[in-house]
Symmetry: C2
Subunit: 378 residues, 2 copies
């Protein structure tokens, strides 16, 4: 896989897709995305079903027209969001009953409906409806979720009618390497045009993530797109690419931007830090983004301190530009057979998130799962 052909352009892979769950990449106009060089984004079936409603988006001419985006779009089926955002979930073999995290209204979605709704949205790539358990759930529950996900994958394939959309299957199986392998084989036999690895990078130990990827990726066909869901830090993208991942998405680059954390070749920088207060130069002299070409780091620092909307826009432009340029370099290094050197060189300079932050992230994730009633955004 060196490219992904879609009705909205050929996408060079490996590609990182920014997240626009609610039909907007937070804080950016579609023009900003084009200027950065983004070719493909992700939107969400769950969010758009609840608001504004799938019927509205369809009436507006589909998702591309609705959000004025003529590049490619992938929609997630909503499986993950129902388990991470919605309330009072009740799963049976037919589908999932849940309450909206927005207004508490009750809904029932089946694999057929999830497929039909995604067809109405009209993304270029759509996802099978899956069940995404926590790795903290009991073994039999994780096993059952995987088996149901498999049955639903067959139903999604059967329900899918639009031939201008690619439907991808999603591998589950918790943190059990045997089940992951079983899931990859089961889905591969169904002959999807692409395969995603779901249910990872959700707070489980890094070693477990890597172990699952080590088992799963080789079991997926090389000539089909392989998509690692929910991964978006440069270091994790490098690990994924090494194993053959073609597609990534994550809220991380845009979300941390809004918190003032900005990517640079040396690692993440916190623009709220007082060290930037009087910095006349750009945040990252090596960056060619709109922020770094036009504004001092001191200006962005000021905007964050003053809680100005422009802070979030400029920081998001920066992080997506960084990551887009990073993916260009990744692809280039692959094409000349120098990926390993590139990876080592990059990681030699890039300070990864420290352990304290990781522990805090994990703690937060555990709380979210344990509460099981919490709502959230994105």
């Amino acid at each position: 896989m060196g490219e992904l052909n879609t009705p909205h352009g050929t996408i060079a892979t490996p590609v990182f897709m920014p997240v626009g769950s609610q039909a907007t990449v937070k804080g950016l106009t579609p023009q900003h995305l084009r200027d950065i060089g983004i070719k493909m984004i992700l939107a969400n079936n769950y969010h758009l079903f609840l608001r504004p409603g799938t019927d509205i988006v369809q009436k507006m001419g589909g998702l591309h027209k609705f959000m004025d985006w003529d590049g490619a779009i992938l929609t997630d089926s909503g499986g993950f969001q129902i388990f991470s955002l919605a309330r009072l979930r009740d799963i049976n073999s037919d589908g999932v009953k849940f309450r909206s995290h927005i207004d508490g209204t009750e809904h029932f979605i089946t694999p057929e409906l999830a497929t039909q709704y995604q067809e109405a949205l009209g993304a270029d790539v759509i996802m099978a409806f899956d069940i995404c358990p926590s790795h903290l759930d009991k073994e039999d529950k994780i096993r059952e979720a995987m088996e149901t996900t498999h049955k639903w994958a067959e139903r999604c394939l059967k329900a899918h009618q639009r031939d201008d959309q690619a439907l991808f299957g999603i591998v589950q199986g918790g943190l059990n390497p045997q089940w992951r392998l079983e899931s990859a084989r089961f889905l591969t036999a169904l002959d999807f045009p692409g395969y995603a690895v779901g249910g990872l990078s959700l707070g489980e130990p890094k070693e477990a993530t890597n172990q699952m990827l080590d088992v799963t990726l080789p079991a997926l066909p090389e000539n089909k797109a392989r998509y690692l869901m929910g991964v978006g830090s440069p270091e994790d993208i490098l690990s994924g690419v090494e194993l053959g991942v073609d597609m990534f998405d994550c809220v991380l680059p845009t979300r941390i931007a809004r918190n003032g954390a900005l990517f640079s070749a040396g690692g993440r920088l916190n623009i709220r830090n007082a060290r930037w207060k009087e910095e006349c130069g750009p945040l990252d002299p090596d960056c060619n983004c709109y922020l770094c070409r036009h504004f001092s780091a001191a200006y962005l620092h000021h905007l964050f301190r003053a809680e100005e909307l422009l802070a979030y826009t400029l920081a998001t432009i920066h992080n997506l530009t960084f990551l887009n340029n990073f993916m260009v370099k990744v692809r280039k290094s692959i094409s000349i057979g120098e990926f390993k050197t590139f990876k080592e060189d990059f990681l030699g300079h890039y300070q990864t998130t420290n352990e304290t932050v990781r522990i805090a992230q994990k703690q937060k994730w555990l709380e979210n799962w344990e509460q099981r009633e919490g709502s959230g955004k994105e």
Copy 2:
């Protein structure tokens, strides 16, 4: 006055200046402003003195470079903001002691310092340091404020050194026509390159505002710029232009945009209203702004309901485009001697803010003045 010459371009008048108190017009990049056709904006000496600090902006190369704006800038002196935002004000003939609305720190600003700080920011037009009392204050207090404002105007003129900046005087005098006339005459005698009318449109009865303008405008020289501070609704701009006002500024177009109120030829539209939920067409088919050219009204409605950042950006672009186009038409109508016809025609179609809204606005303003301890933004 048909144009205002500044070191950053010749500005066709009458002009409306969008407000960017904290060195950013909320939600827009400077590129958005240029695309709309904005030539001159307003920033605020008070806000920038407190945050990031005048010294920082100066060190960054001045306000234009700091915010990447190569058009013209006017800075208000901070007089009004000290009386509307800051706390524990203590005025003596020398200056004003106040506490920051941000962190409570104590500061003392004199007319000389207000001028010096504005010179450091480097705007094209700067304002004299004035006292802006409430029209609800006692008569002798309003009289005294005016007299002090006059003395301070002389001191600002004397302190002002940069010959690439125009320093404007500010007429005060409360709602007393005699004092307004006296103030206009006093300042005119000082031979400023331009004059502002301050202390109006702050919740006083509309009739009183108009009466003050009727008296004041004719007393200011026609060949100098005449600037009505804090006015920005289309209907009030028309009244001002009729009396010879050349310059306007107001947070109104940008602030109401962020609340979902959008200008149209028929009056203000509330995009949050359910009537827009399924509207495939643009909000205003006659508008050539980025929002109306690229997105349905239903999309903007969705962004507001979902509280997405892009909502505020697109709505602000729309309102500033509307007002900028409106000013182009105003100037055109003046140039062909058809202003009165234009005004009547416009008002014949434009539904002005209804009485209920006006009363609510006035009530809010009264509360702000009565509390005198409240802090706010912009």
